[in-house]
Structures are given as C-alpha cells and as structure tokens.
C-alpha cells in the first residue's frame, strides 16, 4: 500500500487531539495539497484527452466513380465499387449505403458526401446496363428523372497518422457499427450511460479483494479504462487506482458520454505488431480482418470487443480457442440484454473466427500509392499538419485498374516462376498506369505483395532502362523530316566506337548478328542496337540526351553513346512520365496523384490542376507512335497480341538489359499509359527478356482493363501515302500491295512506282498500323537485303 500523498500511517493522532490550532493548520494544508493534486490531475487528463481528440489524421480518398449513361462499366464492377466503400445488399435499399440487384441492373442509395465543389446529398438511384455499358440512370420515385450523371462517394484508401509508433484509423462515433457499441456496453460496462465515471460497487469489490490479499483486479468502467489507456503502465497499486478514479470522475465532468465513448473506441489497446501498438477498433479491424470496421459481421465485432479484456491472452492468432470462447461469451451477454435476437446469436456463434493469418502492415490497401501521395504532400505541407489537421486528400487512384495491375503482376510472376523453374518468390516487379490525356496515376504497384508496405519499386527502384530509351533517339531523327522518314535506311553493320579515355565500345544486337541496311521503322520494331547507336551518333549523343528534361526526366545520363541504348537508370514512374509525352502527341503532362485537398471543414485548400506543356511537335511524335505500333504488330512485342486484340493498336517498346537482369515493357493505348518492370531485388539475372517477362504482365493487365484503341489525332502536317510496308516504295493510290503510311508533308517519296507486287485477289491491307509483314509474299520470297536493290530498281 503506497499512498505517498496522504501518509496517514505516519500521522501522530494524539497530537491532533491536544493541539486544536495545529489541527486546523494541518487539515488546511492537507486539503490544499489535495485540491492542488486534483488540479494537477485535471490538467494532465484533459491534456491527454484533448491531445487524442484533436489529432485528426489526413484522410486519403481514391477517385470518385462517375456513372452516366454510356459509361464503360459492368454490374460486377459497380457492385465491387459499392462493396469496397462499405455498401450492403438489402432487399429494400432505401437506406444510404445499401443496394440490391434488379433484372438489368441495380438499385442503390448513395451516402451524402462533401466533395471539393460542395456537399452532395444522398440519392435513391436505379441503374441499368446493356452489355458492359450503363444504359439508364434514374432517380427512384420520380418518373421523369433521367439523370445525366452521378458521382459515387470515393473510397477511403488510407490516412496519414500521428507518429509515436502508433497507427490509427480514427472513427467518428457515427461511423461505428451499433452492434459493436452494444457488445462493448454489454460486456464491459452496463451502466456506462448512467454512472459518473466510476462504479462504486465495483471499486468496493476491488478494494476488498485487494485488502484481503486476493488478486488485485479491475472493476473498471469504460471511463476508467480510457484513463488507464492514456497512461499505460503495468503498475497495479492503490495509488494508481485512486488516481484513476479521480481522473475518471474529472473526465465525466468535462466531457459528454459520447465524447468519452468515441475516444475510448479510438484509444483502447487491442494488440501489438512488433514495435507497433494497435490502438482503437478502427485499426484493429484492419489488423485482424483486413477490412474497415463497417464491413465486419456481428461475430467479428464481438471478437474485437472480447479482446478488450486482454489482447495478449485473447490474441486470435496465438490463442484462437480462448478468443472464440470469449467471443461467444460476448454474444451471450448481448442476447441477455436483448441487443441481438436469439436467431442472430445462434447464427453468429456458429461462425469461425475469420481472422486473417497475416496482418497487413497498415490501414491502406494501397501502401505504394499512398507512399507516393505522401511524398508529393510533403513538398507542400508540414508533416505535423498532415498528421493532425484532418485534411481530406482526393487522389487519382482507380481501385479497379489498381486491382487488375496487382493481380496481373502477382499471377504472371508466379506462372513465370513455375514455367521456368525459377525459385518461387525471387522475381519482383512494379507497375505504373496513368491516363493518357490527363496524366493522372490510376494504379501504382510497388511489388508483388501489393498489400504490404515495403520496398516501393515503382518509385524507388532505379534500373537500367535498356531499349526503352530508343524512342528518344528515333524521335530526334524524325524531327528532321528532310533527313529521316519511317523508311529511311539505317546502317546496321558492325560498329567500333573509339572514345578517348574509355575502352572501345562495340555494341551488339540481341541476336548477335548484323542486319546491313534496315528501314528506320524496322530497326525500332526489332530493337536493333547497332543501327540505333549509329543513328544516335550521327544525330549527336549529347543533343539527344539533352532533350530528356523536356520529357520530364530530371536525371542526366552519362554522355556516352551507350546511354542511347539505355545504359542509364530510371524508376518505373520516370519511364511512365517519358512515355506519357509520346502517348499524348508531344504534350507533356506531369504525372499527378492528387487532385485536390480540402481542410477539415470542407473548404478547398489546394487544387492540383491539369497542366500541359508542348515539348515535341505533334507530327514526329505521330510517326514515332506509328513505329511503336509496329513494334507490337510485327516486332519484338508481337506476342502481345495473345493478350490484347490487334484492333487496340497498342504502341509499345520492350526493354531487356545485360544478362537479362531487367525486363521492361512500356506502352500505351488510347486511354492508358502503362509501364511494367520485372527483375530481382539482388539484381541477379532473371532469364527474362522484355517480351517474355514484363510484356506478358502488361498484356494480362490491359486485357482486363479493356483499353480504348489508340488512334492519335492526325496532325495537319502529316499525309498518308500508299507505300510498300517494308521498303517504303510509293505505289499508285489504289495499289493493294501498299499500305497507308504517315509522312510529314514534303518528306514522302515523290517517285511513284507501278503496282508491281499486287497479287490478284489478295485482300487489300487498309490499315497502316495493322500491317503484318508476313502476309506479303514478295517479302517472304526475297532475302532481306534485297529490298535495297528494289529501291534502286
């Protein structure tokens, strides 16, 4: 018994009786000390309480799904979206956050939500689909209410939380499911709403047991438990108990029951994850069930409530049997108090615990994207404001596209490892997907275990980019239409480059052969190193590399010719920035992950508007895109057509580095730019080329995203000319042997040949991008070098 403030035991009582004045002075002093102590406790407990209450983390949202007639959306996708933001299926979906299936679609009721452009009220909606498109959107209950557009509330994808090795998923009381509160009150503190902070009978019982030498035990109210949680120590003394009682009463004096309960729900200790303490039901829900609290079922809520008594003893991962028993006791108490029905009880107690085996590392399902957002924010905001001011951050993440990216990476890497007998788990990868015209990052995957925070390869892995660098060389060439067209012959014969101070450089082709004279577009399609190196040297290595900042690449590669073949390192997101400009007709749009930021009161703080910079003339970029479409239709990425249909006319480039260490694919459709990297963290060879590794992931992902075809706007100074697809020899307009190929006006061959190779009855090839060389009999028969002779025929 240590009651250091009031040392009754040492007090001489007869002294009191005989000295009246001394008594009064002493009592005065004691009472002064007591009131001082209470005052001190009051300051301490209020500081602790306010500190928790007002540290509102920044909340990060994904993009809001826009639904409108004509939108490319399936019922499955919409349900996935609704469930992801916590909607429940209900036979009468009139309450906000409920939906039901109908014959051709869904009925649902949205929640109200404050967007950057103001509040949006809850709406009762009906939606119908035809195929994979929205065909009807109506407000229920009003017949003439076809709606042009509905914006669904955005998914909450994470938060930026206070430090101290503590993580929080803070909840407002109205966000907490009622059964959880019922369960908590039933098992922990039935008189919570009526007592004034303490339960005298509980305290008396505890005191009695302590004094009689039995186990020191709780009898704590919710308020007392909260106090205990603020100053977590294992110390169990009467002093502490006394302090706790006083503080609990002080708390009740200052704050309402709801405020105390809300803080309790966010504060209570519910487990330990290495150095990270799991505080609050919001975080515990993620930690044990990998779902937000509002998506837990009754028995899962009861499990969490049961753990309050002792998170170590009732740890569902370590002691599942104890936890299950405890959960069922909680459910039983709920039935007793009629918080749930007998039927609910019977159903809930039959269910397994359902706790996920491995805890996720945070509250965000998208840790890599969140990290990128956080880094962008740190440039504009102070860290403590991000963690405490309750900012609301609206980002560009599209959970549907993100999911396709994650799943493609995970499943393809596993398939590749199996098929090639590579040790399971050694391959790693990263994916970045952005929107072609707006530069918004729609998906970002930092590794195959996308759910777990860790090394974020999408933004932190710097790897040699190999042939992904070649388009820079070709674009530079095509910007000089007087010298280069898509058919200009390039020299692919052996090259030895002597530079003072370095050893000789002898670039090789991947097939270790030289190909003589090859047309420019063929050299790019087949990714020939030697002709590209010769082209780059002719154009000037430094003048090419100096253009990188234009395309948004800050890093300056070494000024060597080998840099033209990609002997310099970039991260996947930097590569995405580079290809964004090619995809967007020479306009550079900085990749964005954040649209806007609102203050806690809903006032817009900052917008990150679309910014566009013209950095390359449209016509040469158009030619480059045609050449990159050739890479897919007839070059190194030809097998991409196993995944993405040829009609999409994807433009892309494979990249493979020395000894097959890095496998890259970068490409774009009409609506998305995407980059995939595959390699090993220890940088050892993977045995994969760009086409056998990264490209297959790109293809699998894009197939599921269902991309729009790539049809760039035809620039004014481009003309389409009917030419032989291999030689570039110009044919008369209606010659079926030729294909329409773009030339910058004035650069097309002027001399028109007859229709020499037109085989009667052969179908005309009408589309430049869909050219397939192999269907040309003339090409098949002739050895490759003879095309030169034909030019000079």
């Amino acid at each position: 018994m240590k009651f250091s403030v009031f040392p009754w035991g040492r007090f001489p009582f007869d002294f009191l009786r005989s000295h009246g004045k001394a008594l009064r002075v002493t009592v005065l002093l004691l009472l002064l000390a007591l009131s001082g102590y209470i005052f001190y406790l009051d300051v301490v407990i209020r500081e602790a309480f306010e500190g928790r209450k007002f540290a509102l983390p920044a909340r990060v949202y994904g993009r809001a799904l826009e639904v409108y007639p004509g939108a490319k959306l399936t019922p499955v996708q919409l349900v996935e979206e609704l469930r992801n933001i916590g909607y429940h299926e209900h036979p009468v979906p009139d309450e906000a956050g409920t939906y039901k299936h109908t014959l051709n679609g869904l009925e649902f009721t949205t929640r109200e939500f404050v967007f950057g452009d103001g509040p949006q009220i809850s709406q009762h909606l009906r939606i119908e689909f035809t195929g994979d498109m929205v065909s009807l959107l109506q407000e229920r209950g009003s017949t003439a209410a076809d709606l042009p557009l509905v914006r669904i509330e955005p998914p909450l994808i994470g938060g930026i939380y206070p430090g101290h090795n503590e993580d929080r998923a803070l909840l407002r009381l109205d966000q907490v499911p009622k059964p959880l509160i019922d369960a908590l009150i039933s098992i922990e503190d039935r008189k919570f709403y009526t007592h004034w902070g303490i339960d005298p009978r509980g305290i008396a019982r505890a005191l009695y047991k302590t004094l009689t030498g039995q186990r020191i035990e709780g009898g704590s109210t919710i308020t007392q438990q909260l106090v205990k949680n603020f100053f977590l120590t294992s110390e169990r003394t009467l002093t502490r108990k006394g302090t706790e009682v006083l503080m609990a009463m002080l708390l009740e004096l200052h704050y309402s029951k709801d405020e105390i309960l809300e803080t309790y729900l966010n504060e209570i200790f519910l487990g330990q994850d290495a150095t990270r303490a799991i505080h609050g039901f919001g975080l515990a829900s993620h930690f044990y069930f990998d779902r937000p609290l509002d998506r837990l079922e009754l028995q899962e809520l009861a499990t969490l409530v049961g753990m309050v008594k002792g998170p170590a003893v009732y740890d569902p991962r370590k002691n599942p049997d104890f936890t299950l028993q405890r959960r069922n006791i909680v459910l039983q108490e709920m039935v007793k108090l009629e918080a749930i029905t007998q039927a609910q009880f019977v159903e809930a107690r039959q269910k397994p615990l359902g706790v996920i085996r491995r805890a996720p590392t945070g509250t965000s399902p998208y840790p890599a994207f969140l990290q990128f957002v956080h880094r962008q924010l740190q440039r504009d905001y102070r860290e403590e404001d991000l963690r405490s001011e309750g900012l609301r951050i609206f980002t560009t993440l599209d959970p549907h596209i993100q999911r396709q990216a994650e799943e493609a990476l995970k499943s393809r890497l596993a398939d590749i490892e199996r098929a090639r007998r590579i040790t399971s788990g050694t391959l790693e990868g990263a994916v970045v997907v952005s929107s072609t015209q707006t530069g918004e990052i729609q998906a970002l995957v930092g590794g195959r275990e996308a759910r777990f925070a860790g090394y974020n390869r999408a933004i932190d892995a710097q790897r040699p980019i190999g042939s992904l660098a070649k388009p820079i060389v070709y674009l530079t060439a095509l910007e000089e239409p007087g010298r280069y067209t898509l058919f200009t012959p390039l020299d692919d014969s052996a090259l030895v480059l002597r530079q003072a101070g370095t050893s000789d450089w002898k670039p090789q082709n991947y097939d270790h052969e030289f190909h003589g004279q090859v047309p420019l577009r063929t050299a790019l399609a087949n990714s020939y190193n030697v002709s590209t190196a010769r082209l780059g040297i002719e154009l000037g290595v430094e003048s090419i590399l100096d253009k990188l900042p234009l395309y948004g690449i800050e890093r300056q590669p070494p000024p060597f010719a080998s840099s033209l073949l990609g002997a310099f390192e970039l991260s996947p997101i930097e590569v995405a920035q580079l290809y964004q400009t090619f995809a967007d007709s020479g306009f550079r749009t900085p990749l964005r992950a954040i649209r806007e930021i609102l203050a806690a009161d809903g006032k817009p703080l900052q917008r990150y508007p679309l910014n566009v910079e013209p950095v390359a003339p449209a016509a040469p970029v158009y030619l480059l895109t045609t050449a990159l479409q050739g890479v897919v239709s007839e070059g190194t990425a030809k097998s991409l057509n196993n995944w993405v249909p040829a009609e999409v006319k994807v433009a892309g480039k494979t990249g493979t580095t020395d000894d097959l260490r890095d496998s890259w694919f970068a490409g774009y459709s009409g609506d998305h730019v995407a980059v995939v990297w595959v390699g090993r963290d220890d940088n050892k060879p993977t045995g994969l080329t760009g086409a056998s590794g990264a490209m297959t992931i790109w293809g699998e992902m894009m197939r599921n995203i269902r991309p729009e075809p790539l049809e760039p706007a035809l620039p004014e100074d481009i003309e389409l000319v009917n030419v032989d697809p291999v030689t570039g020899v110009r044919y008369i307009e209606d010659c079926a042997s030729g294909v329409q190929m773009p030339f910058i006006k004035g650069s097309a061959p002027t001399e028109v040949s007859g229709c020499a190779f037109a085989a009667a009855g052969e179908p005309a090839v009408g589309d430049a991008a869909a050219v397939n060389v192999e269907v040309k009999p003339a090409v098949k028969q002739e050895p490759q070098k003879s095309w030169l002779q034909r030019i000079f025929d």
């Binding site: 409108y68 452009d117 103001g118 509040p119 009220i121 042009p148 704050y255 910079e613």
Partner: protein
C-alpha cells in the same frame, strides 16, 4: 469550528475550480458548409441545353458538367469551374470543345501560357471543326496580347479570320 468549516468551503471551492474549466464544444463531425444541394443531377433550365450552338457532345454527362463549369465561372468560382471541366475531360478526353473551354478559363485566370497550350491541344483534336479552331486562335491572340506579344496576336487573329471565312464547297 465556524472558521474550520469556512476553510472547508474555501478548499472545496478551490478543488472544484480545478474542474471548472469550460467544457469544450464537442468536435463536430465534418460541418456541411451551406445548404446541401444535389451536385450531380443538375437538370438544365427547361430541361435542355440553353445555348444554341455547336454540338459539343452527345453525352449528357459532359453537357451537364460543362453547364456546371459555366455556372461556377459566372459565379466567380473559377477553380471549381476548372474542376468541373476536368471531370468532363476525364469522360471525353478527346473533345476539342472541352479543351477549348479549359483554355478560355485559363485565359480568364491569367494563366496565359497554359491558355495557349490548351488552345493548341484543343486544335489537335479539332479535326475539321473550323469553328472551334477559330475560337482557339482567338484565345491564343488574347493570351499573346496579355503577354505583350502584339505581332504574335495579330498573326493568331489572321488565322482565326481565315478559319471563319465560309468555305465554298
């Protein structure tokens, strides 16, 4: 004893003073500024597009967002207008009229370089729509005047006039 009890009273008052700090207002959830209005389901006055003119889009969602942007702009809410236009552009990223609207908005916001670039971008999607091209060149002309480039502005106006001449077929 009276003095003792007054001591008690004084001390009790003191003790209570400790607890007498005015309780703070509960932290409200997120206050809703202003009257909640349906943000999305704006039916245009009279149920149709007010301004007769070119076919900007066949997509009613795009038209609704464009109307919203114009209303925001008229109310002096340019940032919000920009946000509405960007929403429309996410639906139809190759719509020359939407890019033109954004260019015009940037002009009113004093972002002249952006206005010129966006007008160019609009032109890249304009195809044979001479009317939007002419309007874009006028935006470029205005932006150049604001930048102090009167020669460039004159040239832009000439292009605009050329585009506005009726084409004889």
């Amino acid at each position: 004893m009276e003095r003792i009890s007054s001591f008690f009273v004084a001390v009790l008052l003191l003790a209570l003073a400790g607890c007498a700090g005015a309780p703070k207002q509960p932290t409200a959830a997120l206050p809703m500024p202003g009257e909640p209005v349906p943000a999305e389901t704006v039916v245009l006055p009279g149920g149709e597009v007010v301004e007769p003119g070119p076919m900007i889009s066949a997509n009613k969602a795009v038209i609704a967002l464009l109307e919203r942007a114009r209303r925001d702009e008229a109310a002096g809410k340019r940032e919000a207008a920009g946000a509405a236009l960007e929403r429309a552009l996410r639906i139809e990223p190759r719509n020359a009229w939407l890019w033109h609207e954004l260019a015009r908005l940037r002009l009113t916001q004093g972002q002249y370089a952006q206005a010129i670039t966006l007008a160019r971008k609009s032109n890249s999607f304009a195809g044979r729509e001479r009317r939007v091209q002419a309007l874009n060149w006028k935006v470029i002309a205005d932006a150049r005047i604001a930048q102090g480039d009167s020669t460039g502005a004159e040239q832009a106006l000439k292009v605009a006039a050329e585009l506005e001449r009726p084409v004889l077929e």
